[in-house]
């Protein structure tokens, strides 16, 4: 265990020079213990007066900031969800509105169309009736004309043939013939 502490290092106690372990040199212990206690007090003061309050405050502040930020983020997320729901609702409403308008327009157009069709039908019917009447008139007129022409022709024929045309007998004859 013996170590030769060489001269340069041997500012130490006379007995401590040659002894193996400087740790076991009791004569230096009071010195070490005294300075150790001074050091510990100094470190303790640094820790309690500065480090613990300061670092504790910083950590608490950081925790608070993080918590607040998370809460804010949560709130914003909620708001975004709400906004999305509102948007979807508005979209659905608009869609329903549009469908209603389309349906209404369709119904209106159909009604107009039906009315127009009915009017056109009525017009056509009326016109057809008028035309029929005219045709009937024309037909009646034509019949009369034929009778007239037949009477005239018969009178002329009678007179040309040298007979004396008696209007009454001719009419009777023509009428009898027309009935024929």
């Amino acid at each position: 265990m013996a170590t030769e502490a060489h001269d340069a290092a041997a500012g130490a106690h006379g007995a401590g020079e040659a002894v193996g372990m400087p740790q076991l040199d009791i004569s230096t212990w009071p010195n070490q213990i005294f300075w150790l206690l001074v050091t510990l007090v100094a470190i303790y003061l640094i820790v309690t007066r500065v480090a613990v309050p300061r670092i504790g405050a910083v950590l608490a502040e950081r925790r608070g900031t993080i918590t607040n930020d998370l809460a804010a983020a949560e709130e914003l997320k909620l708001k975004a969800t709400e906004a999305e729901a509102a948007y979807n609702e508005a979209l659905a409403t608009a869609r329903a509105e549009a469908a209603k308008i389309v349906a209404a327009a369709k119904a209106e157009i159909e009604a107009d169309l039906a009315k127009a069709t009915a009017k056109a039908d009525a017009d056509i019917e009326a016109k057809a009736a008028v035309s029929e009447q005219r045709i009937a008139e024309i037909r009646a007129g034509a019949l009369e004309s034929v009778t007239e022409v037949a009477k005239d022709t018969a009178k002329e024929l009678v007179s040309v043939l040298g007979g004396k045309a008696d209007a009454r007998s001719i009419t009777a004859a023509v009428t009898a013939r027309m009935k024929g």
Partner: protein
């Protein structure tokens, strides 16, 4: 270790642990400014720089140094809360003080030519006794005489309870010893090994291998420095739980 000298190597692996006055003289009184004072002061300065300068802007989005400070704070705070429970959180500053001192002393000790304060049994024993006495006093203040019931294992059969009580008491009083020797021993051994291996680099043939070996051991020592600070702190929390969390294991 003496074979180094006898074969012609000049290896003095333990010289790095010698406590010596900074301003000459050869008497070390309790108030003498020594290399212990210097390196403890450097540790305080580094801790102050990290915790005070690093966090001075109190930024919501932290800078790098503020991140490190917050990481250390959160790490120890969670450890205290998980191990000792909710009632133990008020002892967080004490645990934080121990952790910062040990961690930065260990890491500063890895600088070349530095002095490792936590490699000294006097220092680690004082730390361990602070924890031991603190926990014991706290246990009696909080639980009164009921604190002693942690030595009386009520889940064991009645016959073997006295035997277990003796074992428990012995293990309770061995705590500060294991607590302190573990830390000092790990650091001292690691630093001594680096010195011994580095000493072999005077052999020109071996030096390339030695450089690689020292690098590897240095990396291991970095790990040990952090792990030992962690171990000391979590054991402190475990002991604290005995006092705070009632008399159960």
């Amino acid at each position: 270790m003496s074979e180094g000298a006898s074969t012609g190597f000049q290896i003095h692996p333990m010289d790095q642990f010698i406590v010596k006055p900074l301003f000459g003289g050869d008497h070390i009184a309790w108030y003498t400014v020594t290399n212990v004072t210097l390196w403890m002061a450097i540790a305080v300065v580094v801790i102050a720089a990290l915790l005070m300068l690093g966090t001075r802007r109190r930024a919501i989005v932290p800078s790098r140094s503020q991140s490190v400070a917050e990481l250390l704070y959160g790490f120890i705070h969670n450890m205290v809360e998980e191990v000792t429970g909710h009632d133990g959180v008020k002892y967080f500053p004490y645990v934080m003080t121990l952790f910062l001192f040990i961690l930065f002393s260990n890491l500063l000790g890895l600088l070349p030519m530095s002095f490792t304060t936590t490699s000294h049994v006097a220092v680690t024993m004082t730390l361990a006794m602070l924890v031991f006495v603190g926990v014991t006093v706290l246990g009696f203040v909080k639980n009164g005489i009921g604190f002693l019931s942690m030595f009386w294992v009520s889940s064991a059969p009645l016959v073997i309870r006295p035997i277990l009580a003796v074992i428990e008491v012995i293990s309770y009083f061995v705590r500060p010893v294991s607590h302190s020797i573990r830390l000092a021993g790990n650091l001292m051994a690691g630093h001594a090994v680096i010195k011994v291996i580095a000493g072999f680099a005077t052999l020109a043939v071996a030096s390339p291998v030695i450089v690689g070996a020292v690098t590897a051991i240095y990396a291991l020592e970095l790990l040990v420095a952090c792990v030992q600070a962690y171990v000391f702190t979590i054991l402190t929390c475990v002991y604290l739980r005995d006092a705070v969390g009632g008399a159960h294991h």
